[in-house]
Amino acid sequence: MRFKLFLLILILSCASTAFAGTISFDQLAISSDLTATKYNGDLNKVYQKVNTNIQGDNVANDTLLEANMSDEINPRVRTAEGAACAFVYSGLIPASAAGTLTSNISSGVGYPGGYRINKSSATAHTYTASRWTYVYLGWDGDFDFSEKNIGISADPTPSDHLLLARVSTDETQVLNVEDLRTTTCSDGPFENIVDVSGEASLEDLTTNGIWGRRFSMAGRTPKGIALGANISWDGVTSFKVTAGSLYINGFYRSVSTDITVPTTVASPTTGTSGIDAGGIGASTLYYVYAVADQSNVKTFSISYSSNATTPTNATNFRLLGIIRTDATSLFCSDDIVTAHTISEKEIPSAWCVLNSTPTVPEIHSSFNISGITDRGTGEVTFILRSPMNSTDYVVVGNADAGTEGHLKIKKTGYTFFSVDQVISTSGAGNDGYFYVMAIGDNRK
């Protein structure tokens, strides 16, 4: 009896740490007997808690080594599953279901926020009718659901969550499931791709700063990569956005062929380009946006809007430029501006500073001027190195012969323009400085 009592005291004293959290005993009263039932019951408590139900509260911090944990919950080598980013290693895809709004999300392994989550069995979920439901897996192991009206794209993915799918329902059933899982880290994401540890990532390089010019008639150029994607006049009832690659509100999108943009209404979530809402207006300035609202594609669509900041029915967009319509609601070829690039219409095609005072006139400084002809006193023809594409170009300039003067543009051709320097009101030509500039279509 004494031995048993001693043993119990020994166990209880050694298990002092095990008392915390989940194990407790009724202390013996002096008047109580230590019965066999109580002895066995208390031992059984210790047995059960230690052997089958030990909890985190009973473990001192930093006492368990990673190697002591099961690979199933904590794989020692995570790269075996390719977990270099937040991604789905296996499964975790909702199923469509005929005749019912309930379906299973399959078992699988995912890494939301880098946390390994093993859903060892399928999880049933009942979806709301006639909705697009975006399905996420959180770092806590729970599935989360974001319901949207049909046609509305997903909000930005919450931190430490994985976007899995978009589930589309009608009144009675789960019609369609669009797989939106990231299933590999080998292609990125860009924030993980660096040349050398500590260097800027590919994401830094493609998102920080503004590509091309900062400001234009269309407005301030959005940040991030913008290659190609120029607005191009294509006719009076449509325009084009050329092939290109864009960073659009967190998405990288690229198209390899020009997009023809009609006057019909756009549907960004299905990748259809057009006006954002309503019909085309007369004498209207439209802002052209690249939109990345279609899921699971690498392309962007185009929406244009009279709203200078926000197109209707678009969530992820960036400003590309502007285009106008005339009084009959037809697209005009003038005033087309691409925010991130400069068109030939916006820069001089040629300019020259010429001094005609010396015996042979001197070209002091020039651009795209191949030469001149000296036709007489104060009369010069400027020869363009790269000809204009039409005679619809503008020549402006001023004269300086030490007194009041101006230039008289005599005529223009594709390859040259001629000017006379006229002094004062006498109409007489004179030699001196010519400052001339031509602006027009000089594309090659």
Binding site: I363, H364, D374
Partner: protein
């Protein structure tokens, strides 16, 4: 002295600010006898004949010239002609021009005399600004 002369030659050799300053010079004698000087970059972007056609000068006699073939002054530019490969002043044309001016002057003086007004008065009544103000009023 030699150094100064050398420096002067160097400076004169680069009178043009533009870096692309290699030009060929051609003198073209037009139908009315006047001379148009073509200053075109060496290795032009289009064949010389094509450029001349563009300028509607291809039908006229053309001669390559050097800067040394020009006169030292541009004062009589409108009376230039090409003679033995040099740019010279066509004295006959210049004299005709002088005569024409003198003739015009004489005619003007005759008119002023008939009108019994001075040249200053004539200028005042033909001044464009005076005419503009008058038309506004």
């Amino acid at each position: 002295m030699r150094i100064v002369a050398f420096a002067l030659v160097l400076i004169l050799a680069f009178p043009v600010i533009g870096l692309c300053s290699n030009y060929d010079l051609y003198a073209i004698t037009k139908g009315d006898g006047s001379v148009e000087i073509l200053k075109i970059e060496k290795n032009p972007p289009r064949p010389l004949l094509q450029i001349l056609k563009e300028l509607q000068l291809a039908q006229y006699p053309i001669r390559k010239v050097e800067e040394s073939d020009f006169l030292s002054s541009r004062a009589d530019r409108d009376f230039w002609k090409v003679e033995s490969g040099k740019i010279v002043v066509d004295q006959q044309k210049k004299q005709e021009h002088i005569n024409k001016i003198a003739e015009k002057e004489a005619k003007k003086n005759a008119v002023l005399s008939k009108l019994k007004i001075s040249e200053a008065e004539w200028k005042e009544i033909t001044d464009k600004e005076v005419q503009r103000v008058a038309s506004v009023n």
